[in-house]
Symmetry: C2
Subunit: 363 residues, 2 copies
């Protein structure tokens, strides 16, 4: 079976971190016999500049065909004043929605060599390893009606939170499956005390658990309390499952706890394609960082670790994924640091390329 | 002018912390000549047990008449299985909505004596003093349509995020006014990159600023980035203004940063009544803590400091509010601790009553 990859570097630091991923992909081809058919295309502001839309139809069609999409980052001040419908983010949201990537896996992992970099105390975060499973194709991100309307002489902004039973069911299953391969614990978060959609969420997650995953430990928490508990004692969690909007906030809070945002990958998975592999998109959790774009300062690790997730979840190469992850960890342990990972003055950071070199050497 | 207060102790630890507030109120009457007409009533589960609803109409009517409502806490496992419409939380939400308490002020302040109690590093939180202004009467908490509906043979949970221009306008003004009395900086948070209601939010906040508060420094941040920044370097913020749901999460995260949830008060303010005083409700940020209820272990400080906010915002007694706040700070500096504020084993915590005694002595 050929392994097909579509690379969408996007905006800001996207292209420069993706350049390092490309070298890693080549290494796996040359040294581990893992050949990939790689194509590249535009997304976000980069696509808008050429096509007038943040994702061309042809790109969308290609994304549907490949085993995995690797995305760098989208957005930047240049595009801030664009109409909502063509903003860079819409390209990413279209990919998520049309590929139906309902399960967004966001590991929040604290790298031992970087634990002191967290704003939290070392004992609170060292060894932290949470997996947030965020629903990614529904909820308030996509619900209708939506828009800005005129009403009684003034404007009103409307968005709709909407979840069907089957949407909740499938993401809950993804979370329980993951938990079985980890700490066997799931905490589901919503606001069932104020939102009916949260009541349905809680009921369905509980029902899926009782029917098919009674062996997994399940708890429920209100999302506000969940945010608190993440800050207080994050190690109480194994897998967290939550909706699109809560997942957006809570996974960012969890990411920041680790102190190393530039290190965190994500995977967005959908239903199996004809070849048995899931529709899949991989991207770093960090954004396009326009302030440092083009300067060779960006940390490519999150994007490289996103490719490691692709090896694991799209290509069934768990051992090769671990090999890559361990190479990254070794490089960190050796003290190699891009600028974002430097705490003290004095030491000299490596460039984006320098980090890529170090990881290739460690491989 | 008489000063009228309605006390709603509610559930769990509500009654025991409120008992200490009552003693403080009496002290201000006896020693500072500040007389209050105090009445008491039921809310939450306590009201449900007697009336079959979490807030009786008569209680609602009384709340509309007084200068300030002081609320303890609502909720508990005993009421978990109640129908959504009569859950304890609905009593609180009805008060907020019918009194039209649109501006929820949630200070996140780190008490110097307690800074080591935070899960964050001391230098990240010591001296922290943020004011979160959360919109409290609209958004997804109250928008219609809402409910669980049948659709194509399955259930779907729906809630509606809805903001009118005037709802955003008035809470923005409240934030700017507060900022002028503090650090003169406002950061507004939404998800304008994915939600049209967020676009309107951003536009209106900006317009209010440009028209009437150009002297205040205004910035905008996506709510997920806001959650991150709160964890990374919270001292960058002065006043944060945000909607009902984001405010729920972000203010809880901010509260937890301080490490002393048992210390944090809140004020919910509406439009001026006939006597010029705003409609107002004051409550601690913490919940009903059913696990320790009735044991005399609860920390009454958050509820006592909520009364201090009442002195400041309802009764125009800023100096007396400061007096009370300083008494609480002195007691903390002296090492008096309820169980929730104890880090090390060995030392003996004071009871709820003991903390009240210490604060009265300090006054
Ligand atoms: C860029 C933006 C649309 C996106 C989101 O809100 O989902 C981002 O914050 C994320 O978490 O992936
Ligand atoms: C008790 C609950 C309804 C409430 C809310 O969600 O607003 C609480 O979390 C709060 O923040 O005051």
């Amino acid at each position: 079976m050929t392994n097909t990859l579509l690379i969408l570097p996007g905006d800001g630091i996207g292209p420069e971190v993706m350049a390092e991923v490309t070298r890693i992909i080549d290494w796996f081809g040359a040294r581990r016999g893992l050949k990939f058919g790689v194509s590249e295309d535009l997304v976000g502001g980069a696509a808008y500049d050429v096509h007038g839309v943040p994702l061309a139809d042809a790109t969308m069609a290609r994304a549907q065909q490949v085993d995995a999409v690797l995305l760098g980052a989208v957005g930047g001040p240049k595009y801030d004043s664009l109409d909502f419908s063509v903003k860079p983010e819409r390209g990413l949201l279209r990919l998520r929605k049309e590929m139906d990537l309902f399960a967004n896996l966001r590991p929040a992992q604290c790298f031992d060599a970087l634990a002191d970099f967290s704003s939290l105390k070392r004992d609170v975060v060292s060894g932290l390893d949470i997996m947030i499973v965020r629903e990614l194709t529904s909820g308030v991100y996509f619900g209708e009606p939506r828009g800005i309307f005129e009403e009684n002489g003034q404007r009103v902004g409307i968005n709709t939170q909407r979840y069907t039973e089957s949407e909740i069911d499938r993401v809950a299953r993804a979370a329980f499956e993951l938990a079985r391969k980890r700490g066997n614990k799931v905490c589901s978060m919503e606001k069932a005390n104020v939102m009916e959609s949260g009541i349905l969420w809680r009921e369905v997650v509980q029902a899926v658990h009782d029917a098919d995953y009674p062996d997994v430990e399940l708890s429920h928490m209100y999302a506000d309390a969940g945010g608190m508990q993440l800050c207080r004692w994050p190690k109480q969690f194994d897998v967290i499952v939550t909706d699109n909007l809560f997942g957006d906030l809570l996974s960012d809070v969890a990411a920041m706890l680790t102190g190393s945002l530039g290190m965190l990958p994500s995977a967005s998975l959908g239903a199996p394609r004809a070849n048995g592999r899931p529709k899949a998109l991989y991207e770093p959790v960090h954004g396009s960082a326009p302030d440092i774009a083009g300067q060779g300062k960006a940390n490519p690790c999150a994007c490289i670790l996103s490719f490691a997730m692709a090896l694991r979840y799209s290509f069934d190469q768990g051992d090769e994924a671990t090999r890559l992850e361990q190479a990254v960890e070794k490089v960190l342990a050796d003290g190699v640091r891009t600028a974002d990972l430097m705490q003290a003055e004095g030491a000299t950071p490596v460039s984006t390329r320098g980090m890529g070199d170090a990881i290739l050497a460690a491989l």
